[in-house]
Every structure is written in structure tokens, then in C-alpha cells.
Amino acid sequence: MFANDMLDRARKLLATVDAEPTERSIGAGIACAPVRLWHWVNAAAILMLSVTGYVIGTGTPAMSGEASGNFLFGYIRFAHFSAGYVLSIGFLLRIYWALIGNAHAMQIFWVPLWRKCFWREVYHEIRWYAFLTVEPERRVGHNRLAQLAMFFMFTQTITFMVVTGFALYGQGAGTDSWQYKLFGWVFSIWPNSQDVHTWHHLGLWVIVAFALVHIYAVVREHSRRAGASLL
């Protein structure tokens, strides 16, 4: 029943998105306050996680003095785990908001890959970015290409990072911790957690690549039309 309701709702929301006037500029109240807030909290968490995660992967230069007088790596790991919690809780709230918020809040979770017009718009958008056409397809919210990138590079990767992150955290927290009980199944897929570390590490670089494109696309859009907001 719930799934059906969800589907109906999603269809209605998509219809709303499709019906949006395409000549409106991006900034006109599309990204509502909760999404904006989430976006920047999330961005800060990702920045923190990326930097600390990279340092955790490579190690710090040796600190001088006694071990009892230093806790650098401990603090770095603490920052990583705290930011991880912020990101995870934010992500859960974001999913909740996608279910109750406006149509655009759903976009990064719901990609209608089975619809023909979706692919037509993607094609148009590729042509636009390839300088083959003058006008972009869609002015409101994410365009279809951005939606694809959002879903496959951001939403999927973040989900993967949260799951593997908690699984790895569960190893340190102990096999009787809730993190291990909830996410320990990851080690049924990769029995050696070294592999999970490697995948988690590759996930960082997917996020970095995504962030580069994301920031570029936003800045480009912003400079193209003075009215566009930076979310």
C-alpha cells in the first residue's frame, strides 16, 4: 500500500516539475529553506570528511614528545566520525524532506529512467553543454543531466559512504555495537575489511570529482544569468 502511495505521489510531483514554467529563473523559491540549510551543512560535513579522510588514509607527520601528550590522530578521527554523523543524520532528514517537501526535494532521489521524455531532455542538455544548442532545456531546479549526476554520483555514493563508513566504525566500536549489528553485513560481501577501506577511499574521489563538476556548473550558470541564485 505504502509503496503504491509513494508511486502515486512521485508521479504527481513529477507532473508538477514538468508543468513548471521553463522560463523562470532558478532562484525563485525552488530550493526551500530546509533544503538550503541541508545543502550547506552537508557541504561542510563533506569538506571535513574528505580532508580528514584523506589524512586518515595517509597518516600525519610524526608529532614530537610523548604519546601521552599528543592526540592528533585521535582528534582527526574524531572530527571524521562526528562529521560522518552530521552527514548521516542530515541525509536521513533530507530523505524525510524528500517525502514531505515540494517536488524539487524529490529530484535527487527519484530519476525516471524509464520515461522517454526524460532521455530526450538529457540529450538536449548534453547538446547544450557541448555548445551545440543555445538554450538549456530546463531552468527550474536541476536539469535532467544534473539530476542524473546527482543521483548516480552524489546520492548513490553518499549512501555507499554512509553504509561502509558505519561498518568500518563498527569494527572499532566492537562487534557488539549497534553500528556493527546494523552494518556488519558489509563484511559478508567483503570479508577482509581492507577491501572496505579501499572502496570507502575510492568513494572519496568520486565525491571530489562530483564536487568539481557541481561547483563548475553552478558558477557557470550563475555567471551566465545574473538572476540565478547559488542556492
Binding site: 522560463e23 529563473s25 584523506y54 588514509g57 595517509t58 597518516g59 600525519t60 607527520p61 610524526a62 608529532m63 604519546a67 601521552s68 601528550g69 599528543n70 592526540f71 592528533l72 590522530f73 585521535g74 582527526i76 578521527r77 553543454y129 555548445f131 543555445v134 569494527q171 572499532g172 566492537g174 562487534t175 556488519g184 563484511f187 559478508s188 570479508p191 577482509n192 575489511s193 581492507q194 577491501d195 577501506h197 579501499t198 577511499h201 575510492l202 572519496l204 574521489w205 568520486v206 571530489v208 570529482a209 568539481l212 563538476v213 563548475y216 557557470r220 544569468r225 538572476g227
Partner: protein, 366 residues
């Protein structure tokens, strides 16, 4: 070694050991297993009443390091385990019988102790060419393993070979060696990984099974939780240096002499479940990290195939490349960055050359 109906207690009494020494042994064993104060008496009771458990010890593709480790057990002493606690009916490395006489024991145990004996497997079976890469007693080892596993109560997978595959299953694995849980799927298998496993872990497990007549609690990977529930890292005595951010940079630098954390030298302690940092080796003398060398992660799945033992990041071999996650990621980010820069440049040029478009756009209401 044939008759296995006598109890542990009757055997040691016959050997001239006093009841006092017997109880001493029981309390020592209880302590080494980390059991409560009442456990000593239940161990004593079990050893007085239960018949000794017959153990069949098979050797597949392996290097015998598990046996080498096992015979060095100090708590309990290996002579106690072998001569008194279990009835080691068959172990081609250390038994006196040979040839047809030895092989007859297998059939006898299978018939006489149906569903009662423990099958300990050291090494693993190769499957390619019909299992011809490991011939044991004139037949492929896989056949012997299957037939003995059929009637066993439980199976112990000694070492990383039997548990995960180890070196003979490392890429490209020409003999098709597989861990035993890939071929025996209908019996409980206790994995005791390690190359080799710690002697006290092996004898401790045997003591547990013979004492309580049941298998210990196993974790998600089928390893006994009492020895494999924590990583080397969790109990490492150099952990404080890890948290402090004090790492060895070179094997001969002053940090190495100071005994800093070996994380940057590729120590696999943070990803390895084993009891080395708690029990240590050779009667608690030392373990690799204490001797100044990082952990290899020898008790983990596929530890031979993760690149150098001295690299922090795993070598990734897919798509014909041999790089680590950072090298791949930075290359990908570099490509994306260059693409973005190129795209930005083209955009700028386009805008300069299409000024009329911009003017037209500006005139539109926005």
C-alpha cells in the same frame, strides 16, 4: 590410538598424575580460556565423565605451519592435549602408523564414531584437473575430505589455507585451490585463520570443544568469537602512538627505534582480526609489531592479493592497472578538473563571440 572410549581422567591417572595436578590443570585451562571461577569444576567434571573426543587431522595443500604452531602450545601444554584430552586418531604428520595401517584408521573412525568425531583440516583442496594437484593416500585429497566430512560432528578449518585459501589460492591460483567451506556446505565449520594460527588459540579451541562437547560462539565469518572478536589494532600496545599521530616513516629512522606506530609502514593491524596483540606468540614472548614489523594481516581473506605488505593503501589491480585508491582518484579528479577548465575556456570564447545572444537574453524578462 585406536580405542577412544576411555575418559581423559582415567588416562592421566593411569599415567601416574595425581588428582591434585589434574585440578590444577583444570583451573589453569579455565583461566586461559577466560572462563569464570566455576568453570574449573565443570571442566574437571567433563574430563572425568566424557569419553575423549576422537580427532581426525587431515592435511591438504599446506605447509604444515599450523601443526608446527600447534605443537608449541604452552597453555595447555601440547602433550596434555595430544596424550590426554583428545584422542588424535589420525594425523599423517605426527602419527606412528603408516601406509595401509594408517588409512585403515580413517575407515575405522568413520564407522565407529559416526557423527562423534571432530575433523580438523589443515590446508585446502585444489579443484582443477579433478583435484589431481593434491594426492593423499593415492586419491585426490578432495575425495578424502568429502568422505571424512560426511560423518563428522564438526569441522575445524585450521589456518588461513582452510579458512580463506591463503597462498595457494592467491591470484592466479593455477590449482584452483578453495577454502573448505566452498566444498563442505552441510556441516558446521569453525574457521581458525592465521598463517599459522596462534598455538594457544588452537589448543584453546580444542579444549573448549572437548570440555563442553559443543562448538564455541562463532562470529559472522565463522571464527570463534573468543579469539577473533577484536582486531590486532584494538589491543596493540603501540595504539597510543597511533592516536597521538606518531608514526614510523622509515624502517631505520629514530621513530622506528622509539617504537612508534607502524601504520604508515603498511601495518595491517587495523583491518586484521586475530588475538596476536593479546595472547602473543611462543608462550606470550612477542608478536610481529612488538618485534618492530607491521602486521601482514595473515588471518584475513586474500591477504596475498592486496599489494605490498608495506603499503598503507591497497593496490588495485582491476582494468590492468596497479595503483592505489589515491593514485586512481587523483588521476580521475585531474581529468575531471582539466575537462572543467577546458569547458570553461570554450564557454568564455563562445560568450565573447556570441554577444548578440547575450544582449537578446538580457532584454527578456527574467
Amino acid at each position: 590410538m585406536g580405542g577412544a572410549t576411555e575418559t581423559f581422567y582415567s588416562v592421566i591417572r593411569r599415567q601416574g598424575m595425581t588428582r591434585r595436578s589434574f585440578h590444577k590443570f583444570c583451573s589453569l585451562t579455565a583461566a586461559s580460556l577466560g572462563l569464570g571461577p566455576l568453570a574449573a569444576s565443570s571442566i574437571a567434571n567433563a574430563l572425568e565423565t566424557k569419553p575423549r573426543v576422537p580427532v581426525i587431522w587431515l592435511h591438504g595443500l599446506e605447509c604444515t605451519c599450523c601443526s608446527e604452531s600447534f605443537i608449541r602450545s604452552a597453555h595447555p601444554l601440547i602433550k596434555d592435549v595430544l596424550l590426554s584430552m583428545i584422542s588424535l586418531d589420525y594425523d599423517d604428520t605426527i602419527m606412528a602408523a603408516a601406509g595401509h595401517q594408517a588409512e585403515a584408521i580413517l575407515e575405522e573412525t568413520r564407522a565407529k564414531h559416526k557423527g562423534m568425531y571432530v575433523l580438523a583440516v589443515e590446508g585446502n583442496p585444489p579443484l582443477n584437473e579433478g583435484g589431481m594437484f593434491c594426492i593423499d593416500g593415492g586419491k585426490p585429497f578432495i575425495e578424502k575430505l568429502r568422505s571424512m566430512a560426511e560423518e563428522a560432528m564438526a569441522i575445524i578449518a585450521w589456518g588461513t589455507c582452510a579458512s580463506w585459501g591463503c597462498v595457494q589460492a592467491a591470484k592466479p591460483n593455477p590449482t584452483g585451490a578453495v577454502p573448505i567451506d566452498k566444498v563442505i556446505t552441510n556441516k558446521p565449520i569453525i574457521k581458525v585463520p592465521g598463517c599459522p594460527p596462534i598455538a594457544e588459540v588452537m589448543s584453546g579451541l580444542v579444549t573448549f570443544i572437548t570440555t563442553f562437547g559443543k562448538l564455541p560462539e562463532l562470529d559472522r565469518q565463522g571464527r570463534p568469537s573468543m579469539f577473533y572478536s577484536e582486531r590486532i589494532h584494538d589491543k596493540c600496545y603501540r595504539r597510543s602512538h597511533f592516536d597521538a599521530g606518531q608514526f614510523v616513516e622509515q624502517w631505520d629512522d629514530k621513530y622506528a627505534r622509539k617504537g612508534y606506530c607502524l601504520y604508515k609502514m603498511g601495518c595491517k593491524g587495523p583491518t586484521t582480526y586475530n588475538a596476536c596483540s593479546a595472547l602473543r606468540w611462543n608462550g606470550g614472548v612477542s608478536f610481529p609489531i612488538q618485534s618492530g614489523h607491521g602486521c601482514f594481516g595473515c588471518s584475513e581473506d586474500g591477504f596475498w592479493d592486496k599489494g605490498s605488505f608495506y603499503d598503507r593503501l591497497t593496490t588495485i589491480r582491476q582494468f590492468g592497472i596497479e595503483e592505489n585508491a589515491d593514485q586512481i582518484g587523483m588521476a580521475a579528479a585531474g581529468v575531471v578538473g582539466l575537462t572543467v577548465a577546458a569547458h570553461a575556456a570554450v564557454t568564455a570564447v563562445k560568450r565573447l563571440t556570441h554577444k548578440p545572444d547575450r544582449a537578446a537574453q538580457k532584454s527578456k524578462p527574467s
